[in-house]
């Protein structure tokens, strides 16, 4: 998986590319752990995300908790949405089409 960052003021946009599996999820974990105080809004662009495992989802939950809910998922494909739905995360996560 590769990751692209875009900072616009207090908003950080992360674009995920490829497979976010157990092996690659530490990349995302590291990024989230490194978030500074100045970021008040986190946007994750999933348009290029092909796959997500529970390890990846866990990072999404961790990011959601760290941002106190100020996390938005964008351009989530149906496949990824299916997996989010399976775990029930859709109830809490803020997802934009």
């Amino acid at each position: 998986m590769t990751l692209e960052k875009k900072r616009q003021g207090e908003t950080l946009e992360l674009k995920l590319n490829g497979w976010l599996d157990t092996e690659s999820s530490p990349i995302l974990a590291e990024e989230i752990g490194a978030l500074d105080e100045g970021v008040t809004s986190l946007v994750i662009d999933c348009s290029a995300l092909e796959y997500i495992s529970s390890a990846g989802l866990r990072q999404l939950v961790a990011a959601h908790k760290k941002m106190d809910g100020a996390l938005t998922l964008r351009h989530v494909s149906n496949e990824i949405m299916d997996i989010i739905n399976m775990t029930g995360l859709y109830k809490k996560l803020h997802i934009e089409a």
Binding site: D21, T22, Y51, S53, S54, R58, V61, I83, T87
Partner: protein, 654 residues
Amino acid sequence: MKERLSRRITAYFLIILVVTILFSVTWNDYSTRRSIIEMEKSLAEGCSRAITALLEHYYRSDSNEDASSESSFFLWNAVRNFCRGFNQDALYIYTVDPGSSGRRMLLAVLSEETDVIPPDRGAELFPLPDHPLTAEESALLSGRESLVRIDWRKGFARGALWISLLPVSGDAGPFFLGMEYSLGLEDGQILSDFWADILLPNIALGVAFLVMILMFRKRVAMPIRLISDRMKRFSRNSSKLPEPLEIHSRDEIGEIASSFNAMTKEITSYIANIEKLTKERVEINVQMDIARRIQNGLVPEKRVLKDEAFCVSAMTRPAKAVGGDFYDCFRLKDGAVCILMGDVSGKGITGALFMAVIKTMIREKLALGLSPAQALNSTNEQLLLQNPEGLFATVFVAILDQRTGDLRYANAGHTRPVLLGNGARFLTPDTGIALGLFDDAGILDEHMLLSPGQGLFLYTDGLPDALNAQRLPFGTDRLLAALREIPRGPDPAETVLQRICAEVDAYREGVEPFDDMALLTLFRSSPLSGGELCPLPVSLSSFQAIKKAVFALTGDTPAAKKALLACDEALTNIVQYSGASRLAFRCSRQGDKLCVVFSDDGIPFDPTAAFSQEKPFEQLDSGGMGLILIRQTASETRYVREDGMNVFTLAFSL
């Protein structure tokens, strides 16, 4: 046009009558003529002798031939008297001159003429021929004949003529005596004889025959025609009893009539009987057909149920009649495998329906979650409430939890199942009483552990009771021996069935089975035995190898990705939590089903047991979502701990 018997008899009779008449007329004519000629002959002989004596006397007393003399007159008168006396019409005496052969009339008399006839008038009345001596005259002269008959009508106008030589001694002569009488008398005689002797009796015979033929018509021909008409009508519609023949005569006709009456009665009842039997047979066949259809619908001849953890193969071998053997295998909601085998007491449609009821009852109860014994006891109670036919059934039920190998079973009087493993031995369950007999059937649940590779063989008594040509049963010892020898292949349940069938067929030597037979084999298969597992490093990076292997089978599809998600989670669990040092993996595809097996030597952990543990959202980042995803994406999951390894099997629909 049909010939009537009486007409034919009449025709025959008429022919016989005509022939008889012709014959008798001919015979009568012949014999009459013969007797007349005999009579004529004797008269002629007598006459000839008398006249010879007369002439002898005449010539001895007086040789004068003068006709006018007294002695001549006396002679003439005497000849005339002889003529009358011997019943002749005319007599004449002539002589033949031996030199010239000329004939000369000497004397002639007519019986009706009283006057003397002079010789010249005599020659006129009886013109003698001029020609030389006839053959008859020569025969007389030579003495070969004494009397000849000449049918000389052309010469002697009056009729038949007898001529004799009068042997008068002395020089005179030779004298021929001609004797004539009218033929009319002869014919008249014959005719009157004909009327009296032949025609009258024949007419009497004809009348008698007429009476007889009328009698015959009334007593024989008419009744026979009546009988024949009745027979014709009867043969057109034999199922209806005709009205009896009212012929009561004591002769053969009466006998025929009474026989006919008895026969029609018998045939009618016989036909009615046959019709009834045929109807019954058709009904029975229809019943058997229905029964067979019910049975085939409920108990298919072949049934296979299997997945990675177990395999069940079942079959029935129907005999000629519809039997009551049945089996069933199905999966409960929780995935456990139910097998049951039974035999109901009734055959035909009754047995089939009873079987349907029992099978449905047991299946419903098992589906509701009842244990085998509970299901059987409850079915027994229900059967006892309404079982007017007094039917009963022996049933064996087992439920296998294929994840743990726990086998719960109960037996209601059925044949003991065989436990297959290393060898084969009878499982000896605490046998209860067959269903449908007693309130307290005493059916109990029993447990045992069926290890991977072990199996259960169920059968009905048609198998051990199969007879060979010597009428000896196959027997249970032979069964056990056969089961022990069967090698376990990749599909052990099917192998066992095939081998046992072949074994029984070979034993039977072509003898038709008289009882049906049902067989069922259940094997708990080891997932490890399904094929080679590929060892992988205990590392998250192994996911790439898994991904490659799965995509190789499925291609990069959304369904394959979901399967990989579950594999990812399973791998993560093993790598991160199990402490395993060895990991092996296998994936296979059957149709649209993908099957994945993970095997590791980590601490025993049953992921399927942890499925139900829900976590609040806030704790999800600490884990737990992996199992949720596995449960959501896999169509089947199974866990066994085998030989110190966790074996986790996942199946997916593609």
